[in-house]
Amino acid sequence: MIYAFYIAAAVAIVSTAMVIVQMNIVHALLYLILSLLSVAVIFFVVGAPFVAALEVIIYAGAIMILFVFVIMMLNLGTQSYRTEKGWMRVWTWVGPVLLASVLLADVVYMLVSPARLPGGGRLPPAFVRPYAMMVGPRAVGVTLFGPYLIGVELASILLLSGLIGALHLGRAVRPESFIGPVSAKKPGSSKKTDRGEGTVKK
């Protein structure tokens, strides 16, 4: 089991890293799906088979499909590849990576460092009993619709607000403006196309 965990973790980290360095957004999306699948494996390995399935079905399946739809709608093809390439410089990575490594080091230190006692003694690192235990779908279901019943209701309200919000914002978008050279022809947007590299040129 432990090897499965290490392998899945390695795959997850590498594929996630690939997501953020990709030029081609479709490739990035595929790497992201791979990352999500390997996280699903981790879920399975740490004893959470139910959410492992949800991760695959909902995250990798449903939510990522939304991204695919948008990418299709925007018809992001080779020109987006070129713009991405134009934006991608080595020095743009220096700052984020430095900051992120400090963040990483901070938390990793925090996770492995011992707690001090007032008398001067030390507790061992925080997780004295670092075990993972199996929790099956039945337990999840019983708890979800038991004490967390209100949480389910609240989640439905949350989804409702997402629905209404997307409905209102999405209604304002006319699909034809994304197809072909329409957006370039519009006087309003052609004014904006000289804003720099970050624009669609056709």
Partner: protein, 634 residues
Amino acid sequence: MMLPYLWLIPALPFAGFLVLSVLGRRMGNGPAAAVGVGSVGLSALVAILVASSFINAPPPAHVYTQTLWRWISVGGFAPGVMLYLDSLSLIMVLVVTVVGFLIHLYSAEFMAADDGYSRFFAYMNLFVGSMLVLVLAGNLLFLYLGWEGVGLCSYLLIGFWYREPENGAAAIKAFVVTRVGDTALAIGLFLIFINLGTLDIQRMMNLAALHWRPGGALPTIAAALLLGGAIGKSAQLPLQTWLPDAMAGPTPVSALIHAATMVTAGVYLIARTNVLFTMAPAVQIAVAVIGAATLLVSGMSALVQHDIKRVLAYSTISQIGYMFVALGVGAWSAAIFHFMTHAFFKALLFLGAGAVIAGLGGEHDIFRMGGLRRQMPLAFWCFLAGACSLSALPLVTAGFYSKGLILSSAWEAGRAGFWLWAAAIAGALLTSIYTFRLVFIVFFGEAKAKISKKPGPRAAIPLVILAFLSVAGGFVNFPAFFGIKGSMFFSRFLASALPSATYAAPLPETDLLLEAVAAIVSLAGIYVAYFFFLSSPEYSREMAGTAIGKVLKRFWFEDWGFDWLYEKTLAAPYRWLARTNRNDAVDLFYSFIAKVNMFFHYGLSLSQTGKVRFYAAVIALGAVVTITIAVFAR
């Protein structure tokens, strides 16, 4: 029982103020006057009902407190918005509301042609409300609120005709000079709060009596600081210079604020905190001495003024000097008695003067008036009643009784008593002279100008009522020697709130003698005035023509050079300092602070790049910092 409605008394004028300030511009003159006059009138009505209830069925210990709410309550600091009604504040409330109402009524006609009609009534209502807060306040913080409120209204109303620069200057002068006193008062409040831990007046006085040694440093300093506030507000030496200039305001304002009510706030403050002053004998003597000096100095100044309102202004200062003398010798109720009669006759005199001024189309100079007796009989008779009362014409006027009480109290006040009495009696002579100088010059002799306007009914009614009060108002306090049943009613009424006079009351025989002297002096003064200003004015001109006469006249006319002195010693050096220091260290320091702030402002503004990725980076940085502090600084 009307007592629970006490809060209505200050609330009504405030309500009037609110209505007028919000809707004033859209109201016509009629509704504005109705609101302005009506609110104070209702307040006066409530005050009278409260008073009758208070007298007929006195509350326990003759004190009624109404705690409306606690403003803030933190630790030991819990200033309550508390109204405190005892006989002292009751008298004050009655005078303020009744006289205030009469003057409002008068103003409804007097100000009719003015653009800022509703603004005027808004300020006046605010003033009455603040004054009532001042006299009803149960703690010093609340009192201070009213104190500053009346100061603000005074400022606004002196500068009411703000298009004339002199009026603005007079308003600023009044504000700045009284500010000196207010600062002392504020420091006094801090001192009291720090040392006694309370600002509740009664509690403060009880604690002071318990913890402070009479004559010790603390009560002396505290009382001196309160006295500082009092002399600023009451225009006593050496802070009296603002009051004559304050006459720049409309005449009803002078009547209400600068004669009848606000300027006596200092008297009220000292009477209210009498325990503190009793514990500080040195300060109390200072009160008496300041009063005596003031009444003489301003009495002489009043003698030579040309402006009818300035004469009355100096007279006000001088009469408040009498009240201070009374306070200084511990004759608390005498001071309040004189306050009341003074409010009646001085308001009357100002309103009468206002009628004259309005009748002559804005003329202030008494030497361009004359012979108005026939042209304005009503104004004449009313003014005469006020003048008699001011000059303490024996037996028939209110002023006689109140001033007589002060004189006899001063006489009995220990060793210094004689000198105080002498000063006061000299002042009484001066009073009679300058008062009747005014009467003879303005109303007798030949007419020098045509009058254009006579007081209408809304102006006449207050004049008549006040004239009646000026004459009959003294009968509430018949001296004991008359042996009439119910004599000294007023003083006995006040005895529940104020300690009886520190010194034993004079024997009836002595008292009678003193009253007789006062009566003779008063009559003598009138005769002197008659002689010099009516029958043979050439003598007065001759006297003024001599070298000493010229100097004295000039000196007195300029208010003993106080303005000159302050100009040379304070204002001019200050202006010089300000001029030379324009680019100097202090200023540099502040502009440096400003520059530093600007620098940081621009620096930080650069951080607001508008780029979402940068913002995210700052959040991540913030996370790093927070985690680092939390984990590594533990």
